[in-house]
Amino acid sequence: MKIHEYQAKALMGERGIPVPAGVVATTVDEAVAAVRPLIESSGNPVVVVKSQIHAGGRGKGRFIEHPDLGGVNVVLDGIDGGIPAAEAKVREYASEMLGSTLVTIQTGAEGKVVNRLYIEQGIDIATELYLSVLLDRSTSRNIIMASTEGGTEIEVVAAETPEKILKTEIDPAFGLLDFQARNIAYGLGLEGEAFRNGVKFMKTIAGVAVDLDTDLLEINPLVVASDGQVMALDGKMSFEANALYRHPEVEVLRDETEEDAAEAEAKEYGLSFISLDGSIGCMVNGAGLAMATMDIINYVGGEPANFLDVGGGAEKDQIVEAFKLITADENVKGIFVNIFGGIMRCDIIAEGVVAAVKEVGLEVPLVVRLEGTNVELGKQIIDESDLNVVSADDMKDGATKIVELAR
């Protein structure tokens, strides 16, 4: 689960990580009202207006409605014009940004509508660094990745100058040790006040990642201010789904407008569903088989419309719900049901499919491939129904048939 930057900063701030002061705004007036208190309390006449969407690359992103406008805007007008000038500029930016669609390298061409802005105090930046805490799957431990190349995409740094990335493994039994935190700070070139603040920052951030069960905690840039403060100028957090049950304080931060409605609905029925762009709807049991079904549709010349895993114990109402999800997508020109019944019996699945088709209605071709427990009985139920359903012998046969029928 992803959250917004302002939420991540609040979570970090509560846990002792220095973050700039800021105010979230959903209207132009709220954005303008934030300016005076920020400037007065920080003493810095600069404020920043930042789009809050669940995607990175906002600074370089551009609005569809305002092609010259970026997703993050620094307001310098307060330096010469004072607070009224800063307010006027924030009003101008907020009016254009709120309700407009921001396209970044992570949103896809359709972009994301900006419903929230974060108005933040300006920081006098001396150095921009990079820091993240994430799982290293090869060692089954968290690592801290740090780099002097802040502000750039870390994938680019990793590809072009991998020697500029410091990786520090955290032993889960001990947490990040003091000497490791010092070594990271040395590696980042921190000195004096910044060094002391940096060591404290590393120790704290490693603890935050564990306390909150993040699966990614990324701070890019991590900045050293001219006064030696080490601060999270940006904050990206995503949370490990399996651990959300023990973090009600995180669960309430969920922004449903950022999530796919069909995927969220599927989750309520215990279905794992992901929308795709193709025309062949899929209903499968098992995540690996569901992925492989998408692949085989592609292999025989079609394009899958979705990933859908009904799980190992699907019952009739889940299958009906699965059909509703698939048929709600108007791009779907054919449906492929691919089941390897283990514990799940094919006759139960077949009955579910027949019932679902009768309830939901079927306007596109349907191919059903059943294998495993009670397969003959299942095929018989499909064949004896008066539905327009085609049986398949194996996965490849089924994929070929549905792609042909959907043409």
Binding site: R137, R141, E155, D171, A243, I274, G286
Partner: protein, 307 residues
């Protein structure tokens, strides 16, 4: 011969709830030695299993079974009382990592964790706890381990398996069944089928299983089923190139998976351009593995690899 489990394996079940009871019954029907259960709130009780024997399982048994499984309050007490050598974990996700660590401490040789949805941080700790201990964890979020007609630990349908000469190792449950089914149909059969699970942190990886199969005199070849996410397949490819003396066939799921999306399994995600199916297929092919173009072709890919 086989790997991990055989007719002498004595199995405990941790978590005798609805799921645990259902699969314990299936395991007993198959002929697995289910010697005890651990479920603190039900300690002292005995769960009785009766039914019709699954004759696709361990041969030479009567047509019906009637087995008492005693329930203990701790794994340590259960191991002392039953001499269990393995355990299967059906404990719900919030408590599963603790169940795994308890089993490791009690001295079983093999822990099979079926539970799906264990927090990653819990598994990071559990794996750390297992370091240096003489115990193997398979899973979590896996179908389990089966040696056909000897021992079935987990949730896989027993009857699709047949004794033979191919080792199967997979991150996916239903794709394992596809492979097993094809190996049964084409006559190669299986020595042992191992589901290593779909989570990002697991106890046993591809290399561990490849090494076991490589050392097993009855295993003549291996089918390895991978998917997007992580670099376990690339690591396996490197190991195969350097060490494997037996033919390997493979299938990798997720060629069409979009980046940044978790495809059902917690571990099946392409992130930061890493973990793509293409990279895995390329690495395996470069190591001499026959990679099936579709899951329907896994059995024939194995035949081709053995030619």
């Amino acid at each position: 011969m086989s790997v991990l489990v055989d007719r002498n394996t004595r199995v405990l079940v941790q978590g005798m709830g609805k799921t645990g009871r259902f699969h314990t019954d299936k395991a007993i029907a198959y002929g697995t030695n289910m010697v005890g259960a651990v479920h603190p709130s039900r300690a002292g009780q005995v769960e009785t299993f009766t039914g019709e024997t699954d004759q696709s399982g361990v041969p030479g048994r009567p047509d019906t079974y009637d087995v008492d499984v005693p329930i203990f309050r701790s794994v340590a007490e259960a191991v002392v009382a039953t001499q269990a050598t393995a355990t299967v974990v059906y404990v719900p996700p919030p408590f599963a990592a603790d169940a795994i660590m308890e089993a490791a401490d009690a001295g079983v040789e093999l822990i099979v964790a079926v539970t799906e949805g264990i927090p990653v941080a819990d598994m990071v700790l559990a794996k750390r706890y297992l370091e240096g201990k003489d115990v193997r964890l398979v899973g979590p979020n896996c179908p389990g381990v089966i040696t056909p007609r000897e021992c079935k630990i987990g949730i896989m349908p027993g009857y699709i398996h047949t004794p033979g000469k191919i080792g199967v190792v997979s991150r996916s449950g239903t794709l394992t069944y596809e492979a097993v089914h094809q190996l049964t149909l084409n006559g190669l059969g299986q020595t042992t089928a191992i589901g290593i699970g779909g989570d990002p942190v697991n106890g046993t990886n591809f290399v561990d299983c490849l090494a076991m199969f490589n050392d097993d005199p009855d295993t003549a070849g291996v089918i390895m089923i991978g998917e997007i996410g992580g670099t376990a397949e690339e690591d396996a490819a490197e190991w195969i190139k350097a060490n494997m003396t037996k033919p390997v066939a493979s299938f990798i799921a997720g060629t069409t998976a979009p980046p940044g999306k978790r495809m059902g399994h917690a571990g099946a995600i392409i992130s930061g351009g890493k973990g793509t199916a293409e990279a895995k297929i390329e690495a395996l092919a470069a190591a001499g593995v026959i990679v099936a173009a579709t899951p329907t072709d896994m059995g024939s890919a194995m035949l081709e690899a053995m030619r």
